[in-house]
Structure formats: structure tokens, C-alpha cells
Subunit: 250 residues, 2 copies
């Protein structure tokens, strides 16, 4: 028995999220089918991040155990021939039998893409949120600064969370203009349910001038989801990277 770690990229458009669901197809479900087809085993998959329906990933992580004699690094190619083209295993390797990407100490990087313009650009509509209002990027940057560091992010968490604590640390948050897009990059050790999308939605409220940057403190201190802005749409969000900080656990 050995444990295989997979790094997985996907276009989340066609899926009902990462997690195996009764309704619709999931990334996890497609991976299970591919592993079953390859090894004849019925794998239990442990994912790092249960991305929502429509959210994309460049590098989600997952582990499964197998008795297969296939070397760890060969799984990526073997699984890719069995996966739909909107899911790719970009890396595979054998890891310690007790390594799990959810309990490991990791830093995640999320990117939220806003496309400015009167109409959604069809070429980017699957991966961006079209905002037709004028946005003041400097104000958005000022507002983002209030979120950096350790805070109770209860105001930025979907009320249907089952998190034991809503305290999280944002290690970095940056806002860049790239042509007609605004890129919000958020890094942290862990995120609450919908947290990055609520941050993006709130920063757009600031950009539109409906919230002042200084109000971010008030919103954080309120510990009340209703004080923050709307949840930005799923398709603008991509899980870009999960960096494993305690490499020895692998």
C-alpha cells in the first residue's frame, strides 16, 4: 500500500464543485472513476480544497492509497488519458502514508479576476466577473490593506459554515491591473466558506464608491456577514497554488 499525491488543474464550469455530490458531476467523482479504471480499486480521495461549483483550479491537491505497482510519478499521464480534457493531473508522486493535504500546514493562493467593460467578454466569461461600473482601483487597494494579517473574518464568511473558528490569517493580498482586468490575489493558511468571493464582492463595492476603504475595519469588527458586500460569482475564482510548508510531513 502506498499513498499518491496528485496536483490537479481544472476548469470548474461543467462541475458541481470538487466534492462528490448527489446531483451533477464533481471533480472528485471524475478522479475516482479514472483511478478505478486504472487500478481496479475503489479509492478514497482526500482533497486539499473543496472548491465550489464553477470555481477553477490550477493546483488543487489530493491523496489516495493504492496497492498498484504503478510508480507514483506515472499516475499523472495514466490518469490524464482517462479524464475529461477539463481536468488534468499536472503532477503525481508517492508521499508518506500519513500525509494529508488538508491537515498539512499549507499556504493557499487564490486569484479573483474582474473584467471591466460594458459587456462580458465571451472569451473570458467562464473565468472572470464582468463589472460594468467604473472602479477606483486605488481605493480597492486601500481597502484590501485592512484585511491583511490575522482577523476574525466572520463578516466575510458564508453563514452556512461549520468552521469552529472564523479567525484566519491573510498573509498577503494584492490588487493588480492587467489590461482591462483587475486581479485580486489573496494568500493565507486557510480560508472560510466563500471568504475570497465575499472579499472580492466587498472590494468591488469599495471600487464603485458605495463603501469607503476605512469602513473595512467596521465591517471586520461587526462579525456580521450582512455588513460585507455580496459574494462575487464563482467563475471569477481560481485556486492558483497550495504550498506545503512542512515538507518533512511528506
Amino acid at each position: 500500500m502506498k499513498r499518491i499525491l496528485l496536483k490537479i488543474a481544472y476548469d470548474g464550469t461543467a462541475y458541481n464543485g470538487w466534492q462528490l455530490a448527489k446531483d451533477g458531476e464533481s471533480i472528485e467523482g471524475k478522479l475516482m472513476e479514472a483511478i478505478r479504471d486504472l487500478t481496479g480499486e475503489d479509492p478514497d480521495i482526500g482533497g486539499a480544497s473543496r472548491t465550489d461549483a464553477g470555481v477553477h483550479a490550477k493546483a488543487n491537491l489530493a491523496v489516495f492509497d493504492t496497492d498498484s505497482s504503478i510508480p507514483g510519478e506515472k499516475f499523472s499521464c495514466a490518469l490524464n488519458t482517462r479524464l475529461p480534457s477539463d481536468i488534468r493531473v499536472v503532477m503525481s508522486k508517492e508521499v508518506d502514508g500519513d500525509f494529508h493535504p488538508r491537515s498539512a500546514h499549507t499556504e493557499k493562493t487564490y486569484l479573483y479576476r474582474i473584467q471591466r467593460g460594458e459587456f462580458p467578454d465571451p472569451i473570458r466569461a467562464r473565468y472572470t466577473w464582468n463589472v460594468s461600473y467604473d472602479l477606483d482601483v486605488d481605493k480597492m487597494r486601500d481597502a484590501a490593506g485592512y484585511l491583511k494579517g490575522e482577523h476574525d473574518f466572520k463578516s466575510f464568511c458564508n453563514v452556512h459554515t461549520d468552521a469552529r473558528t472564523t479567525v484566519r490569517e491573510i498573509t498577503d493580498i494584492g490588487i493588480e491591473e492587467k489590461d482591462d482586468e483587475i486581479h485580486i490575489t489573496v494568500k493565507g493558511y486557510g480560508f472560510l466558506y466563500n471568504m475570497v468571493r465575499i472579499i472580492a464582492g466587498t472590494l468591488v463595492e469599495v471600487g464603485r464608491g458605495r463603501t469607503e476603504p476605512g469602513e473595512m475595519s467596521t465591517i471586520l469588527n461587526a462579525l456580521n456577514r450582512e455588513k460585507a458586500g455580496p459574494t462575487a460569482p464563482a467563475q471569477g475564482l481560481t485556486l492558483m497554488d497550495i504550498r506545503i510548508l512542512d515538507e518533512k510531513s511528506m
Copy 2:
């Protein structure tokens, strides 16, 4: 009766190209349905560029005539509510009754996107060509230089062309590295069938080291499609812009 000019963006993935086809759906067909639904008329649509199946556009142009009382600039919103989300009319306006984007003097800009890496990135697979070979971008740039200016591009034209002459002028060609992508931008007054895709395919042969930059002269002079490289896949190509040079014709 008035003539309306439309600027149209689309994700070509789901379509059998611009042109109305017996098999499969076309961009032109979807536009016709939307105009018919809006005006009750059966429009004749004249497009600037008959993009191939799978090719995208940020700004194709088309005209049609109508007796509708809807002001020219209102067509974009009215048609967008009747079009699938992968096609957007990004601008509409009334033009001279004898203006046609195919006979007008225009400069077109095409972008071909190559994604370097072992696997196609699912998030960009609809819009890029994944090339897993190492590519020498400086050599590709040298090779591209030979194509600039007026030449007989017969070697870079699909043999099934019905063009009267294969002489064309490339007004600019540039190669940029953007993260893990290579962007080939080609500008010219007119292009032959598959010309940009054959240029991209040939430049990748150069990047891989299978063709030397200096051989581009030989390939041009051969006037023989077989001497150039393969036709790069459709999905990497986007028609970025059509600039109307004789504005007075509008």
C-alpha cells in the same frame, strides 16, 4: 432602410465557424436568428472575417440592413438579450448604406496563443495551443522578421483557397512571452485561408529547432504549402481587432 454595423466578440469553441453552414451552428446563423427575433425581418449579414471553426474573436465586424426604427446604437443590448452568452455584440451603430466591412480598407490584428508546458492547462485549453517541446523564442522572433512586409504567401496558405492572388502584406508581427505563454501577434490588411495558423505552426517548428530562422526565405520563395510547417490548431487563434482605415467610407 438603414445599414447597421456590429462589432462582435465570441468564443468559437461551440461553433462551426463564422459562416452559415449546413452542419452545426455558426456565429452568423445565431446573429441572424437574433436579428429576426428582434426586427421580424430576414437579414442578409455581411461579415468582415469568416473565422474557422473553433477560432475566437474579440472584434469581428458585420453589417445588415433593416427598416426597424431601433436606433443603431441600441442594437447591441437588444441583440445580446437574444444571443447565447458565448456571442456578444460589443458595439452597434448606423453606417452609410454602401459601407461593407469586407470591401472597406481595414487592418486586422490576430493573436495566436501558445501555452508552454507538459500538459494543456484546462483553464486555457479552449484558447491556447499546448506545446510541450522546449521553444527558443529568440529564434522564433528572428524567423518572424522574414515574414514582415509584402510577400507572396502561397506557402502559408491552405491549398483549398480561392484567392485570386496570394500576395499579402504583413504590417507587423511580434512575439511576446507572457508568463508560460508565447503570444504571436500578426497585423495585415488581409490574410489568406489558414495563413496565421500556418505561420504559428511554422514558427513553432523554428522554436523546436527543426527549421532554422534563415529558412523562412526559402519557404516563402518555394510558393509551396508543403514547405511550411503544420497548421496550428484553431483554438489558439483570436481575431483581436479590425481597424477601418478609410473612415469616410462609413
